[in-house]
C-alpha cells in the first residue's frame, strides 16, 4: 500500500499542498499531470529524496516519512533509467543485494530470476552504452525490483521510448506487476499509458492531488 496524508513538500518556490492519495496493496496507481505540476516532487518525497514539510507517508503498513530512502523498501525507476555507466547489467541487478549483504549464491539466484522475468538473459555482460532505450528501462526495472521491495515508483519510465518499444514495455510492466504483486506508483503524462496500466488513476494539478477513480482494495496474495 502507498498512502500519503496531508503531505506538504516544498521544491524551491513550488509546493505540493496537502496531497492525499491511496493505492491499495498490489494495485497499479498512475499519477498524471502536466510538466511542472509537482508529480515528480511528490514521487521523490515518497521515495525519501525530498524532505517532507509535514504530513505522513505510509508504505506497506509503516510510516516512512522520516526514514532514509534505503529503509523505505521502495524501488525507483527513473525517467532515463539512470543506469550506472561503469557497471554491467548483471552488476546492476546485484547492486542492491551486495549493499544489503546478500550471499553470493542468493545474489546469483536473484539475478537468474530477474533476468528471466525481464527477458534480459542475453544482456547480462553488457554495459549501459551497449543497450537500446527499451533494454535500459528493463535493466532499471530489474535493478529496482532486485531487493524485493513491496513498492515500486516509476517516474515517466517510458517517455523516452519509441511507440513500439513503449507498447512492449507497457505489457511488460503489467505482467511484472501482476507476477510480483508489487504496489506501483507510476508517474506519466501519457494518457494511453495510464488507461492501459492504471488500477487507480490520480491527477495532480498545480501541486494538488485528485484521486479520480478508486478501486475497492481486494486482498491479493503477494507472489513472493
Amino acid at each position: 500500500m502507498i498512502e500519503t496524508r496531508n503531505l506538504v513538500v516544498r521544491n524551491g518556490e513550488f509546493t505540493v499542498q496537502d496531497a492525499n492519495l491511496r493505492i491499495a496493496g498490489g494495485k497499479y496507481g498512475v499519477l498524471m499531470g502536466k510538466t511542472g505540476s509537482g508529480k515528480t516532487t511528490l514521487l521523490e518525497a515518497i521515495c525519501g529524496l525530498k524532505r517532507v514539510v509535514s504530513g505522513s507517508i505510509i508504505v506497506g503498513e509503516r510510516e516512512v516519512a522520516t526514514l532514509k530512502p534505503g529503509a523505505r523498501g521502495i524501488g525507483l525507476v527513473p525517467q532515463d533509467g539512470a543506469l550506472f555507466p561503469m557497471l554491467t547489467v548483471k552488476e546492476h541487478l546485484e547492486f542492491a543485494l551486495r549493499v544489503r549483504g546478500w550471499s553470493a549464491a542468493d545474489q546469483q539466484r536473484r539475478v537468474d530470476e530477474l533476468s528471466a522475468l525481464l527477458q534480459i538473459e542475453s544482456l547480462l555482460k553488457r554495459k549501459p552504452h551497449q543497450l537500446s532505450g527499451g533494454e535500459r528501462q528493463r535493466v532499471a526495472l530489474g535493478r529496482a525490483l532486485s531487493f524485493r521491495p513491496a513498492t515500486l515508483c516509476l517516474d515517466e519510465p517510458l517517455s523516452a521510448l519509441d511507440d513500439d518499444t513503449r507498447h512492449e514495455m507497457v505489457e511488460l510492466l503489467k505482467r511484472v506487476q501482476r507476477e510480483t504483486g508489487v504496489t506501483a506508483l507510476h508517474v506519466t503524462h501519457n494518457r494511453s499509458e495510464a488507461e492501459t496500466l492504471a488500477d487507480v488513476k490520480l491527477h495532480i494539478v498545480a501541486g494538488e492531488v485528485m484521486q479520480v477513480e478508486k478501486f475497492p482494495a481486494p486482498h491479493i496474495p503477494l507472489a513472493r
Binding site: E44, C47, G48, L49, K68, P69, G70, R72, I74, G75, L76, P78, D80, A82, L83, F84, P85, M86, F95, A96, V99, R100, H129, R143, A144, S146, F147
Partner: protein
C-alpha cells in the same frame, strides 16, 4: 508583430523578406585568423626553443647531465607526484561538497577556493613564508624544518595545484547527474556508499584531468617555491628554479635545454591523458 511594424504592402519590405542573409565567410575567416595567430604563437615559441637548443645542443645537453640538474629532475618528478596525490585527496571532497551541498556562506567559501588561482604566485610564497614563521606553525618548523627545505617545495606546489584540481573536480561532479546517486540511495546505500560505488567510478575522467592539471601546474610552479623553499642547489632546486639559476649566471643554452625537457615531459603527459580519455570516449559512443 512583424506584420504590424512592416506592412506587407510596401514593396521594399516584400523584397527584403526574401533577401539572402549575408555570407558567413567573413565571420569564419575572422575566427580562423585569430585562432591561427594564437596557435602559431604557441608553435613558434616551441620551434624557437628547439632551433636554439639544436644550434647549441652540446652545451644544452651538457647542462642537463650535471649532478645539479639530475637532482632537480628527480626532485621535480617526486614532488609533483606527491603534490598530485595530496591535491586529489583534498580536492575530491571539496569539489563534491561544493557541487552537492548548500550551506550558509557557500559563496564566500567558493570565492576563497579561487584565491590561489588569482593571487600572484610570489605573494603565495611570501604568505606561506610568513605563516610558517608564526606560532603554532613556527613551533613545528623549528622541530621539523619546512620553510627553505623540501617540504616547502611540496607545500608551495600544493597550495596552487589544489585550487585547479578543486575547480576541475567540482565541474566534474556538477556534470554527473545526482539522479544516479539518488537511485543508489533507494537501493540501500548510505551517502558515503553512493559516493564510493556510484559517483567516484563515474568521475574517473575528471579525476584524471584534475591529476594531470595538478601535476603540470606543480611542474611549472616557480614563484612560491623561490620565496618559500628558496633556490639552493641540490636541496630545493626543482626544474623551474634551475632555469632561473642558469639564466642568472648567463647560461642561456642550459636554461633552454632544461625548458625543453619540461616541454617534452608536459607534452608526454598531455598526449597520454588525451589518448586515455579519447579511447574511453570512442568505446562509449
Amino acid at each position: 508583430m512583424t506584420s504590424e511594424l512592416i506592412p506587407n504592402t510596401e514593396p521594399q519590405a516584400a523584397a527584403s523578406k526574401w533577401r539572402e542573409p549575408p555570407s558567413d565567410l567573413p565571420f569564419f575567416a575572422g575566427l580562423g585568423i585569430l585562432a591561427a595567430f594564437y596557435v602559431l604563437l604557441i608553435m613558434a615559441m616551441l620551434a624557437a626553443d628547439v632551433s636554439f637548443a639544436a644550434a647549441e645542443w652540446r652545451k644544452a645537453l651538457a647542462s642537463l647531465l650535471t649532478e645539479e640538474i639530475k637532482y632537480a629532475i628527480w626532485l621535480s618528478l617526486i614532488s609533483c607526484s606527491i603534490t598530485t596525490v595530496l591535491s586529489l585527496w583534498v580536492a575530491t571532497p571539496v569539489g563534491y561538497l561544493m557541487s552537492r551541498t548548500n550551506f550558509p556562506g557557500k559563496a564566500l567559501v567558493d570565492a576563497i577556493l579561487d584565491i590561489p588561482i588569482f593571487l600572484p604566485p610570489l605573494v603565495i610564497g611570501l604568505s606561506l613564508l610568513i605563516l610558517f614563521r608564526q606560532t603554532p606553525l613556527r613551533y613545528l618548523d623549528d622541530r621539523f624544518p619546512i620553510a627553505l627545505h623540501i617540504p616547502a617545495v611540496i607545500i608551495a606546489q600544493f597550495s596552487v595545484a589544489s585550487a585547479f584540481a578543486v575547480r576541475t573536480l567540482r565541474t566534474t561532479f556538477d556534470e554527473i547527474s545526482p539522479r544516479r546517486e539518488q537511485v543508489a540511495l533507494t537501493l540501500g546505500c548510505s551517502r558515503s556508499q553512493a559516493f564510493w560505488l556510484v559517483v567516484l567510478p563515474e568521475s574517473w575522467r575528471g579525476l584524471l584531468t584534475a591529476a594531470t592539471l595538478a601535476w603540470a601546474r606543480s611542474l611549472g610552479e616557480f614563484g612560491p617555491i623561490l620565496v618559500f623553499a628558496g633556490s639552493t642547489r641540490t636541496k630545493t632546486e626543482v626544474l623551474p628554479v634551475s632555469v632561473h639559476l642558469e639564466l642568472s649566471i648567463g647560461n642561456i643554452e642550459g636554461a633552454v635545454g632544461i625548458s625543453l625537457l619540461m616541454v617534452v615531459v608536459a607534452l608526454i603527459v598531455l598526449v597520454v591523458v588525451r589518448l586515455l580519455a579519447g579511447s574511453e570516449r570512442v568505446a562509449r559512443s
